[in-house]
């Protein structure tokens, strides 16, 4: 059963029916958890955990990261459950397990709810309830606020919904300290303002896909030129925010240099996107690719500079 070939045009979650016994493999369930998104979530959470003051036993740190990873996987599975109809209409997502018919919607829903519940409860019981509460809120935000509410109703979907992807460093920090402060909020803001230019650069060269699925992303609703201007505006907010951890003394010279250099490249690529005219899409593709490297570089340098020494000291203690 493939919803792609059947040209399904229903809105909202597909209804699970009683059919053939499931052919879903372990690989299909892993795909439901969006492993590539999960790896970025784990990495940013690790940075939040490593730069936080105080100590956390390595086993507890591993437990926290495992719960955050599983929680992110749960959110991914619930997203695929609800979005199966639109996933079937888009080239990028049509081969996901639910639209392909390998996993039934009800199975994806049960899988997501089970994983999410386990992740939140285990994080609370074994680490602390502040981190657990933040993880629960992140899953709720991604599934209910972004996927069910905003994604199909406003072109600002990714701006507000992007907050869900920005929470993991705060969860990592809270796992160590049991509280929050300005530093994890800065990390949150960097990812929050990074998400729109990253996603809109992708949407610029996937506009037809989103239009076919009737998802109101910015290029579909406001047009190409407006999206390019918005990308530039967000980059101009993002770059100073990227430098901020160094400017306020949370990070050292290596981070500062990296953030300024990477920020200059982001600004240059954003400028190229602004000057690009459809059907050309090279600048958009370049910005999309570099934006991933930008976020990785900033967090990796922060991890090396602030976190790595702290982690080694904690392991040695």
């Amino acid at each position: 059963m493939s919803l792609v070939s059947e040209g399904v045009e229903v809105r909202g979650p597909l209804v699970a029916g009683v059919g053939e016994p499931s052919l879903a493999t372990v690989g299909d369930y892993i795909a439901l958890m969006k492993p590539r998104v999960m790896s970025l979530v784990v990495f940013t959470a690790l940075v939040g955990l490593a730069v936080a003051p105080g100590s956390l036993h390595p086993v507890a740190a591993f437990t926290a990261l495992l719960c955050i990873a599983v929680g992110a996987g749960a959110a991914g599975a619930l997203n695929m459950w609800y979005d199966a109809d639109v996933d079937a209409l888009m080239t990028r997502t049509a081969r996901r397990p639910v639209p392909m018919g390998r996993v039934r919607p009800g199975e994806a829903l049960a899988f997501g709810l089970t994983l999410g519940s386990f992740a939140v409860v285990v994080l609370g019981l074994l680490v602390n309830w502040v981190a657990s509460g933040l993880l629960a809120f992140t899953i709720f935000f991604y599934v209910v606020i972004y996927t069910i509410w905003l994604k199909r109703s406003t072109p600002q979907n990714i701006v507000i919904g992007g907050a869900a992807g920005a929470f993991p460093p705060m969860i990592g920090w809270a796992a160590v300290t049991g509280s929050l402060s300005l530093e994890p909020v800065l990390l949150f803001l960097i990812i929050f303002f990074w998400t729109p230019p990253h996603f809109w650069a992708l949407a610029l060269f996937r506009t037809e896909d989103y239009a076919r699925a009737r998802i109101p992303v910015l290029p579909v609703v406001s047009g190409d030129a407006s999206t390019r201007r918005q990308i530039m505006r967000y980059i101009l907010i993002l770059v100073p925010l990227g430098v901020a951890p160094w400017a306020v003394g949370y990070a050292g010279a290596l981070y500062g240099t990296t953030a300024i250099a990477a920020g200059a490249i982001m600004t240059m690529l954003g400028w190229q996107v602004l000057r690009e005219i459809r059907p050309a899409e090279r600048a958009s593709r370049n910005l999309f690719a570099f934006s991933i490297l930008y976020l990785f570089l900033l967090f990796a340098v922060l991890l090396i500079e602030r976190g790595w020494g702290g982690l080694i000291a904690r392991l040695a203690a």
């Binding site: 499931s22 052919l23 879903a24 372990v26 369930y29 086993v59 507890a60």
Partner: protein, 54 residues
Amino acid sequence: MSQNPDDDGIVLTEAQKRARRSRSIAIALALAALVVLFYAMTLVKGPGVLIRPI
């Protein structure tokens, strides 16, 4: 209510049996990992794990 002796119910194909077996093994491994995790964290927390406010 009588049952038809020829009715064998749902008979799984070989592919379905393989898929079910792999899922069952994955669930077993996940549960075992959870047990190990709770055991390890109990050791990490030490006697403090028994001190709970009433």
